[in-house]
Symmetry: D2
């Protein structure tokens, strides 16, 4: 098998390697000529045997949309595009429709595994027609972890369903991370607890909360106890937001996943406009002084002489 | 009527004035000799005609507990203690029991109204025996707002119920304030919105969200548009915490009141241990850089080359 | 002044009356011929003096979109459309653009006040050009509550800003209602509290939580103590969802407004798929029986013989 | 080594077996004579060689407290009590103090692992003096999972710290379960998703969200696709509540763990008093009908003719 891969960054580059090691020939294109096999998408298309398979692994949004459009102009009927980036599932509907008008097939693929995927394999969630997925199965088998196929690969459903499952996967991931993080903060705050890192490490076998994320948290704590070198500033990549948008659209209550997203928003604020408003209100009704930001004190203020709060 | 009042701070001092203006004679005691009528609690007790009524208006916790104990040693059977501070309702059980052993009556009274109470009157919530409440009714009538008694006064229930209702009142208050505050932040963040203060002001008549807190928020915004002189650092006085403790004890889901409390906790943190843990996790699995705190950017990061979040 | 009004339902019908009582002549159109002055939108347009002003007050979504389109085909350059329904602000961008291509002016207007607006006046939030808003000011003055204009009317900003402010208003409203509701549930759950209705009533004067919504809650409790005739099933009208979508899009943490929305979602579920999953998990790891739904018990289960939860 | 174990239920019985299989002699006592080696706690104490070690594994609360008291009256100075049940950490302070007055040593031990612990070993978190923990190490080594000691055992800190870590472990567990559950509900609600079980199964290798809980969820889904045999009614065992109490006491914001707890509270309510109040409010201001509970509809209601929500 000989396929094309567009995008050879942190994810695409590793997948290229894993495919190659599995015996699949890959022609790769990247905007960075230092890592690219060919000079253009056109050259990549020309280098592939027909019917072609091209895997897209570029940043979601405009870059992916432009890449799909470019491929639409270069590929032939019967060729297959696999979109493996972090796209919103709704983009898949547009991509598939645009390509279908030219007879080009489309499969969307959500990919999980991060920088560890090269070694461990990637969790794959795909959407589209069974015949296209069957055709690309050698690729999926090369990328997914060893073991039973169904433990690292799934045909989720229609076009878009692969990215949808990946989106939900990430929404869950937000919640899992926040749960461990809140537990960490509480454990670290308690005076009778002397070994926080050891507590997390002791949970890695036998307990109900054992997981790969827990293993990573222990690794992080062992490298930097107390996270003294880290700032509590956390970005979000879009999929967490889409998950909540979908929860709202489908009337699915999702307090945990939402709280995890909001905690990230808050972590990036130097000062909170909302809490300024609350401070202003307390000042108005209770004569409470508005306070300069200082180290948090655990105890509630008391004895203020006011009965308000 | 001639009663005693212990505690002449921001709240007690104003209540002293309002009672006096209503024709009730008050002998006041405060640790600050400049505002005190008498030199000691003993002098205060001696100055009152029996059967005595003494209103306690000191900071909750140890100071209130000590004051109740001291009064227990000085008062006579048939005297009545009204505890009007911000005590936890569970303290009332102890206070009433200790005083009852000496034949002293007890009523707990939750007071709302803040610095505006002197002028507008105070909302009063009392707990205890009907006969004691009846006996103290001239005091309650003097303190409560003008208008029908039931619109500013309530006999909530048994001992402790007054403070309980006040506690719930404050829990609700936390939620109301946070709701306005979140709306403020969103409105202030949107580019097509040019008049945030005006929007809040336009809600003060005719709309569903009109309230006294809204009036105060408008006042605050007019005094300091954009809250440029205020830091988003918000204390909590204890009653918010007790409300959530009670929600947990009674299996009452209270996501709004709890979120309001947690937002205050977060507002006091310079850096969040929990979010350090999340940042560390993202770094471990996705190779995401841990970032120095900077001005929050509204957009999700994209094009990271990683499919993780 | 003589204007047209399309949509004479619960809101439009009352606004028609209030305008007429204020001396503004209104020609009204409704699909229901029993309440309509004219037989068609065309007749309405023909009946108005130029340059015309037409107020749209129909359900948001397709009906509003179709009405705007129809008006675009019937009105003349220089005419003014005021869209007063519950539209998403993003629809205003489309409406204004489509009408502008024909030289027709557009103002969006968020309206608050519910069934009480006829008597009390409506809170009005408008977006668009100052010249159009000035032109329609007699209408706004007739609809808004008596008193200073700025306490019931605001020119929020650009096209869409009126509906945006109304959307945020409703998001806040969700949060306020939920705060009172949680407090109600806690108060009603506590044995020492004997007078729940009385407690809420006593808060209506003098307290920090006094508001119009509180007045309504007291009215509801007095009509039906314990809400024995009401089911805890709560719809949502869309604006709450849009508010959260905007919070997510603008990275504004909004735990309170979101919790209020999710509580409505949950209130409509006969059984929760998520909680089925949790029950299944507990069964898997702890051997906990999965239980038939029964009356909630306040106390945590104990003595299960398992250390899991 | 020969120790005593009090409580031979689901947890204690399995631990008895695992200890015995590891070569530790155990004399067991249970209220159920069918599983008990001896007829009373006194017989158990008499059967043990001194200095004795007795492991308590009975339901937390009064039963544990009574057992500790009984042992205090039967044991001798230098004997060691290990309390391995699900007690609140604050009980350990009392237990240790009461026993110390009689010269009896005390160690608290949080145990995780559920019904799987017999086979996989138990995660152990202990609090107390190092010398006591050293003395009991053969027991801990027999109970913990195979592998490095620190991956299944930790000396967390002072008396109470073992149960504290276990409590936090369970708080995290609540959050993890709820995160998976919310993702499940969303995935199951989406029409383009055809294989929900398969999606979860595909996450069990290679993905970021892989965990033991995920494995169990897949097992549950395979046994009962769609959880058709399960009701979404979820108890809580106390440790989740204690975790939130501690978050409040230490000013640690914990929206995720709290949301998980509240979701359990809600799951047990046939009808929500809070949502009755919201429904009543909407009826009051908007004339919205209060609705009989029916199947949830995903879409927001629209076109109500009211602009309120």
């Amino acid at each position: 098998m000989h396929i094309g891969m567009i995008g050879l960054g942190r994810m695409g580059g590793n997948m290229y390697k894993r495919l190659t090691e599995a015996g699949i020939k890959v022609t790769g294109y990247d905007r960075d000529p230092n890592v690219s096999d060919v000079a253009s998408v056109k050259e990549l298309v020309d280098a592939l045997p027909g019917p072609r398979i091209v895997w897209i692994m570029v940043p979601s949004g405009d870059i992916t949309r432009n890449t799909v459009e470019e491929l639409g102009n270069l590929l032939s009927p019967g060729d297959l595009v696999i979109e493996g980036g972090n796209s919103r599932f709704s983009d898949d509907f547009l991509h598939a429709k645009a390509l279908a008008e030219k007879g080009i097939e489309y499969v969307d693929c959500g990919v999980s595994g991060g920088v560890w995927g090269l070694k461990n394999g990637y969790g794959l969630m795909v959407g589209g027609d069974a015949k296209n997925i069957e055709r690309a199965m050698p690729i999926f088998d090369a990328l997914r972890p060893e073991g039973p196929r169904e433990e690292g690969f799934v045909h989720v459903g229609e076009i878009g369903a692969g990215h949808y499952a990946k989106m939900v996967h990430n929404g869950i991931e937000y919640g899992l991370m926040q749960a461990y993080a809140e537990g960490y903060e509480l454990l670290a705050a308690k005076d009778i607890v002397k070994d926080v890192t050891g507590s997390f490490k002791a949970w890695t076998r036998g307990t109900v909360v054992r997981s790969w994320l827990l293993d990573l948290l222990v690794k992080g704590l062992e490298e930097d106890p107390g996270f003294s070198q880290i700032t509590g500033y956390v970005n979000d990549s879009g999929e967490g937001r889409w998950t909540i948008e979908e929860c709202i659209a489908n009337a699915v209550p999702a307090p945990v996943m939402t709280a995890a997203l909001y905690s990230r928003f808050t972590s990036r604020q130097d000062d909170s406009p909302a809490m300024k408003a609350v401070a202003a209100l307390r000042n108005q009704f209770g004569g409470h002084a508005t306070t300069a930001k200082a180290a948090a004190d655990a105890g509630p203020s008391s004895g203020s002489g006011s009965t308000q709060s």
